[in-house]
């Protein structure tokens, strides 16, 4: 700083970074996830204050920004990671608003000496932005002590420490498995400042998500279809492999498939004109035809 200052305008800093827009958008776009939103607001506030402190010369070191997102499938970990990159970029903690999303396959090699170059390649690509490691617990396989995952973890740890200014690492995975992962890699756990847990959605939130998805796909659901969707969600939650918002997306995709088939058959057999409304409406029947109402996959097999 050229001129010494002892006051700083937080409001100006806030306006300049447009951070509020991202946070408001986060509130609008994501249903539920109250504790997550709360934590992100806290982190954003903390980063803003740290930035102000840095500008006044009170604080010398940049805060550690590595994070861990835990939660069941389909709870919005990737979506939130994207928003997080946006926030960090606006506050100037990362130089590029980019997120490199990888899994074990991208980091760990298949033979000796293959892992290090592979991991370094990924790290080089992610430099200046966010490295998002999905299903991070797969990196460590305790049952195989000759697994190359450990090597990859060590390189990651080194980079997380030495290139703190260049790279933010976000790990994601299911809570219980991430727990075992951190237990066997204490160095990893201590280098991650923010652990954020993503709760499951309840039925109302899932219905809310349905509404958002349907409108973003430019379809309409009538009242009875919504009722069917409500039943669907209740039944689907009891069945195995339920993946929250992802299951809803898949259900809607299949309903669209059935709707298209219905319109196609109607047009051929009844030779009637199809209106724009027909094209964009999903009816109760389209949803009720799902095998979830017959007891799911397991019932079909027996």
């Amino acid at each position: 700083m050229s001129t010494p200052v002892d006051k700083i305008d937080i409001q100006a800093l806030l306006n300049e970074s447009h951070i509020n827009e991202v946070l408001d958008k986060l509130d609008q776009d994501l249903v539920g996830l109250v504790p997550v939103k709360q934590r992100i607001r806290e982190i954003a506030a903390y980063l803003l204050i740290t930035k102000a402190r840095l500008q006044l010369g009170i604080e010398a070191a940049k805060p550690s920004l590595h994070m861990c997102f835990t939660g069941n499938p389909g709870t919005g970990k990737t979506t939130v990671a994207l928003k997080m990159a946006d926030i960090l970029h606006r506050l100037g903690y990362i130089r590029q608003n980019q997120i490199v999303s990888v899994t074990r396959d991208d980091l760990v090699g298949q033979y000796i000496g293959h892992t290090a170059p592979k991991t370094k390649e990924v790290i080089k690509k992610a430099m200046g932005g966010v490295l998002f490691i999905d299903e991070a617990y797969y990196l460590y396989k305790p049952e195989n002590e000759r697994d190359y995952g450990q090597e990859s973890i060590e390189i990651l740890l080194q980079t997380m420490e030495n290139h703190r200014d260049d790279l933010v690492v976000i790990l994601a995975g299911y809570q219980d498995r991430m727990g075992t992962f951190f237990k066997s890699n204490p160095g990893m756990s201590s280098r991650i400042a923010h652990h954020i847990d993503f709760p499951d959605y309840d039925e109302n939130e899932l219905l809310e998500i349905t509404k958002l998805m349907v409108s973003s796909m430019h379809y309409n659901l009538d009242k009875s279809a919504f009722g069917a969707m409500k039943d669907y969600i209740q039944k689907r939650k009891q069945q195995p492999h339920f993946a929250n918002a992802r299951s809803i997306r898949n259900a809607l995709d299949r309903a669209r498939l059935r709707q298209a088939n219905r319109l196609f058959n109607d047009a051929i057999t009844h030779k009637k004109d199809t209106t724009a409304e027909d094209l964009s409406s999903i009816t109760e029947a389209d949803i009720r035809a799902s095998r979830v109402f017959e007891g799911g996959l397991d019932a079909k097999k027996s």
Binding site: Q96, K125, A126, M127, G128, H163, D166
Partner: protein
Amino acid sequence: MMTNPNGIVTQGQFSFLPPLTDVQITAQIKYALGKGWALSVEYTDDPHPRNTYWEMFGAPMFDLKDPAGILMEINNCRKTFPNHYIRVMAFSSVRGVESPTMSYIVNRPKNEPGFGLVRQETDGRNIRYTIHSYATDKPEGERY
């Protein structure tokens, strides 16, 4: 080399300037990345001007967005070959160009003995000239 007051090898860009700092190198890399060029790091201990193909330090780095990754690779190479010539190249894949567009030295040996001029007398008192690097009298790896 009487005509080269600094007594250093001058090839590529910026070679008459004082050595580039890491900040300056980062700025150059940023420029190259902004143009969409792929960067690579190469090293050699034979700086003869006709030695076009230096050893590659890892594969060229495509799809990078930030200079930090390339600077990391440069520093790795400096650590591995502290007493070699190291250069950074930028390659343009634009159709019709498809060749290196930038090349500058980022590391050089502490001592550069330079080149000697060898004169060979041929038919009819003609003379053929050859540039010979004093360093290459020694085997590879022991030159600097």
